[in-house]
């Protein structure tokens, strides 16, 4: 197992054993800021010199991918899971959107094995976060409900939310700086990346352990949804990536993005837009099941599926 995954396992076990380990407040925020910037810089540098217009149809495709996932998840949760409409819509939005931590683990998994991937995957990450939120809000309120949605606010969130700002900002810097232009900051943003990710995953392990203790209150349906939905999404992601002609590394990453579920941006947006949805339920599924599933089993599995697909 990769060493960074060992850090996650350590945090998880320490949390489950009720260790007194607690990370200083603000550390989580600082580490994720670093990871987002570093991912953005790398992606932007990869895209430097490349024309950006041809990317637009690709971006439309992956945004559509997230939207389709959200609809499918909503239908499953409403009909099979018998969830109330707001809950079904909220959980679906979590699974339609993406998790940056899961993406970072997959990037490291690939780079440890010297498997390359297309730089635009970082742009995919940036654009895939928000559309499922919009869909989820519409689904929660019923399409024709006539209730006013603050679209201005939502668009603001789409481009100026914290994570997206850092990704886009990092990409812009990397793009302008171009190859070689980031050399002076390489010791911080690239050499430290994996170690910082390890610390971040330690904290994730502690966070996940707390969600796990809340899992018992959730029905069995939700638990299996937390594993099956990522698998289904990964298949959709692979199909989409295949249509876009991605490499094995790119396919693996897009499958991971599709399979990953948001636990930062979506909960924050849903809390205000759909206040009646139960937040504990969605976080238990996303953090308690799907995140560890993806980190421990999903990524290697998606890679094998990608290899199979690319070989076919």
């Amino acid at each position: 197992m990769d060493v960074i995954v060992l850090f996650f396992a350590f945090g998880l076990i320490a949390g489950l054993l009720r260790s007194e380990l607690k990370l200083p407040p603000g550390l989580y925020e600082g580490l994720s800021l670093f990871l987002l910037l570093a991912i953005g810089l790398k992606g932007g540098q990869g895209l430097a010199g490349q024309p950006l217009m041809p990317l637009l149809p690709e971006l439309a495709s992956v945004m559509l991918l997230g939207v389709i996932q959200t609809f499918i998840a909503f239908a499953i949760l409403l009909n099979l899971g018998r969830f109330a409409r707001p809950d079904a819509a909220s959980i679906a939005a979590h699974y339609g959107s993406v998790s940056i931590a899961t993406f970072a683990v997959a990037v490291t998994w690939l780079s440890t094995r010297n498997i390359g991937f297309e730089p635009q995957l970082v742009v995919y990450l940036a654009v895939m976060e928000v559309p499922p939120i919009l869909v989820g809000i519409m689904l929660a309120r019923g399409m024709g409900s006539g209730q006013v949605v603050r679209w201005g606010n939502l668009l603001h969130e789409a481009f100026l939310g914290k994570a997206v700002t850092l990704l886009l900002g990092g990409m812009a810097i990397g793009w302008f700086a171009g190859p070689g232009g980031l050399d002076s900051i390489t010791p911080v943003f690239f050499d430290l990346f994996k170690g910082v990710l390890a610390l971040f995953l330690l904290e994730m392990g502690l966070i996940v352990s707390r969600q796990m203790s809340g899992l018992r209150q959730q029905g069995l349906f939700l638990l299996s949804f937390g594993i099956c939905m990522p698998l289904l999404s990964a298949v959709l992601g692979l199909a989409c990536g295949w249509l876009l002609g991605l490499s094995v590394g790119g396919l693996t990453l897009l499958a991971t993005l599709a399979a990953s579920a948001s636990y930062i941006a979506v909960p924050a947006a849903m809390r205000l837009a759909v206040p009646t949805a139960n937040q504990a339920t969605s976080l238990a599924a996303v953090l308690g099941i799907s995140f560890p599933f993806n980190v421990f089993f999903g990524i290697p599995l998606f890679y094998q599926m990608a290899q199979y697909l690319a070989g076919a």
Binding site: L23, Y28, E203, Y263, I264, A268, L272, P275, T276
Partner: protein, 102 residues
């Protein structure tokens, strides 16, 4: 009372950090002219909220204002947020200098 003070109401609201912007907007619409905010963690009917993830962060907002403003604000908060959000709100009388400021 030996010095020139007046009585105003201190309104304290403890709630989810996600509501901060909304809360501030509502209070100012009701006529609150100033407020102070700090971060707290705590426990209530919705379990423990420790603020490690933004989802579980609480804030404590306090505002000195007139009784009428405090009451209309707190009534509005109850109507709109008490059902769906973790929220505790209470009012106290306080003695202030410069009562016209509030």
């Amino acid at each position: 009372m030996s010095i020139n003070t007046g009585t105003r109401t201190l309104l304290t609201v403890i709630t989810e950090a996600a509501l901060e912007a909304t809360l501030v907007r509502i209070l100012s619409e009701q006529g609150v002219r100033g407020y102070s905010v700090s971060e707290v963690r705590g426990r209530g009917s919705r379990g423990y909220r420790d603020g490690v993830l933004a989802e579980s962060a609480n804030i404590r907002l306090e505002a000195v204002c007139s009784r009428a403003v405090a009451e209309s604000a707190i009534t509005l908060l109850r109507e709109r947020y008490y059902d769906d959000f973790g929220m505790v709100a209470f009012m106290q009388d306080v003695d202030v200098l410069r009562p016209d400021k509030f």
